[in-house]
Symmetry: C2
Subunit: 217 residues, 2 copies
DNA sequence: TGCAATCTTGCAGTCTGTGCAATAAAATCG
DNA sequence: CGATTTTATTGCACAGACTGCAAGATTGCA
């Protein structure tokens, strides 16, 4: 067996080509948007630059926006997940830890990331689109919280559990989004996305605490 | 001058027709989705049912989804807005009040609303779309909070103000969304959307308080 | 009644996205 | 290595969303 490490070793020719093509499309999409503007960034043009047929484009991405926006965040393969569902500490900070880990893992290709950030800032319409794709991540969070609550409060009804899980997930997600926006606005290499997420959680907590008299239940 | 009440009196023929056509499209869209399913709900079909040309459809709605989803929530004409910007009480509950008022105003056509709720529940893809349209409302909230913060803390830099305003808006928005989802899931006439919003804010505050030790700043 | 403003509609055209089948390339196996 | 199976690329045809334009119909108004 090949080493089970996470280093991308020992990929077949096919796999390697696939990764390369995907990367070529991602780069081409950004390049075309940058050069021709978002409106003129057609699939035909992107495909031409990426040197593939337009039909092949849709074998890699389900829509033009996905190619421009890149991969959606996901809990997939996040090692903190299993810890979180069995942990019994405060739930929001726990969830923060999960997301922070995911954020730091996201830094696969800093170059593309920076360009994407610039493009997102330039065309707010893309941010709207991102909202939609990121909705899946939100659902993943809710599902994760549900799993934990089921273990922590086995006597709750399913409806109650789902309802509470959504409250937790939505709240956490709001803080994550705040961090994300701050990161988009500030091309500030000093603070990583993970750090911004951490800040958002604590500042969010302070905000809520200052708005509602502390009434720990 | 005509009475400044909100009753739709004294509209010209043209205006009345316009309203009627818009309503016809809204109804037709939901009907077609319900009868033929979301995938088969084409603009052509909706237009046929609404008895207008497909071209006219796009004179009323910029996209098919807008017609299915109906009007986007907005702060437009919300009387609580002016109160909020000058109020100096806790900010989150104040924002809650603004949104609750808006929620209650939303009950224009209960029949359409109920059907839309059912359709949204049946096709999760629509919920994703809604996220996108509702993003504008989020920005309105952020803008509103910015106005208030500028008055309340004139010494803050613009960047700080904008950053904090977004934190407030996103947090409030998370609670609103929780209420919205609960409302979608529970066709429970007992609790209005406004009440659900109110609950979401208090429960959200409790959640945060229980997760972070009370440290009122 | 007649002119001006506004609406509706058809038409032509662009672009996204999909199913299908042929072709090409890579993996696998004897 | 050569044959076979699996998977990827591509072209083609087509459905459907959406837009600009200009002609024709309606409504508002003097």
């Amino acid at each position: 067996m090949a080493p089970a490490s996470d280093a991308p070793e020992e990929l077949g020719l096919r796999e390697r080509k696939r990764v390369a093509t995907r990367q070529a499309i991602l780069r081409a999409a950004l390049q075309v948007v940058r050069e021709r503007g978002l409106d003129n960034a057609t699939v035909d043009e992107i495909s031409r630059v990426a040197d593939i047929s337009p039909r092949t484009f849709f074998n890699y991405f389900p829509s033009k926006e996905e190619a421009i926006l890149g991969e959606t965040p996901s809990l997939e393969g996040n090692p903190e997940v299993e810890w979180f569902v069995t942990d019994r500490g405060a739930i929001l900070p726990g969830l923060a830890r999960v997301v922070i880990d995911g954020s730091n893992r996201l830094l696969s290709d800093p170059e593309l990331l920076a360009e994407r950030r610039a493009v997102t800032k330039l065309y707010p319409a893309l941010g709207v689109r991102r909202m939609a794709t990121v909705h899946n991540f939100e659902n993943e969070l809710a599902e994760l919280v549900t799993r934990r609550l089921r273990g922590e409060f086995p006597d709750m009804t399913d409806a109650e559990t789902a309802d509470r899980a959504r409250l937790v997930a939505l709240t956490a997600f709001a803080f994550v989004r705040h961090a994300w926006f701050a990161w988009i606005d500030h091309p500030d290499a000093n603070r990583s996305l993970g750090q911004l997420v951490e800040e958002a959680f604590t500042r969010g907590a302070e905000l809520v605490a200052s708005s509602y008299p502390a009434q720990v239940g």
